[in-house]
Symmetry: C2
Subunit: 100 residues, 2 copies
Amino acid sequence: MSSGKYEPLDPVIHSQVRLAIMSVLISVKQADFHFLKTATETTDGNLSTHLSKLEEAKYISVKKTFRGKKPLTTCSLTERGRTAFSKYLRALEDYLPPNK
Amino acid sequence: MSSGKYEPLDPVIHSQVRLAIMSVLISVKQADFHFLKTATETTDGNLSTHLSKLEEAKYISVKKTFRGKKPLTTCSLTERGRTAFSKYLRALEDYLPPNK
DNA sequence: ATAATAACTTTGTAGAGCAAAGCACTTTGT
DNA sequence: ACAAAGTGCTTTGCTCTACAAAGTTATTAT
């Protein structure tokens, strides 16, 4: 039933780092800056900008609190983000060879 | 057995248009410019530059001939391209939620 | 001869991605 | 108490990417 058509891939998600972030957040529901940085193996600067982009798109929500005296940034997927991610995954299938 | 690590995604392939091109070429073995343009729904300019990029990476081979009096550009995957694509697909799995 | 079409390629510009530098603290010596 | 080092980010600046629009070259239609 492959339609032969390529659905557009949401450009907000179709980026290595942001895809990794979304992927992490799908599985853990909540993740702080350090965790995401380790998981995605990116730099502080990159992570920060990519998080901002995902936040602007309302795909994640970012809560800023304190862990003891230090700032703590905690991220989680929004419903909108979850929807966008599954839509992305469905679209992506158009690009993948038929499932074995 | 998901390692929790995100393998880097080959940047030559991780682009909507180039991914679509690779996807087409995996399934049809040969495709001309017009066919690829229709399949990937991109503009002439974009397709041209993306093909050049894939060619530079030696992922595709581009043969320029004539169909009657008109130029005809025919593309196909190289072995290197085929390998790169399956590597990309394996890496991509790291980013996708566990199958089902 | 002129115009329209085909099959690309090149160019210009706007946006994405990254590392380095910056900022606002807090902790750790001394 | 003070300075130096560390933490947890954000901002900046540069390079690289992606795209559409314009250009090129040749062909077919009028």
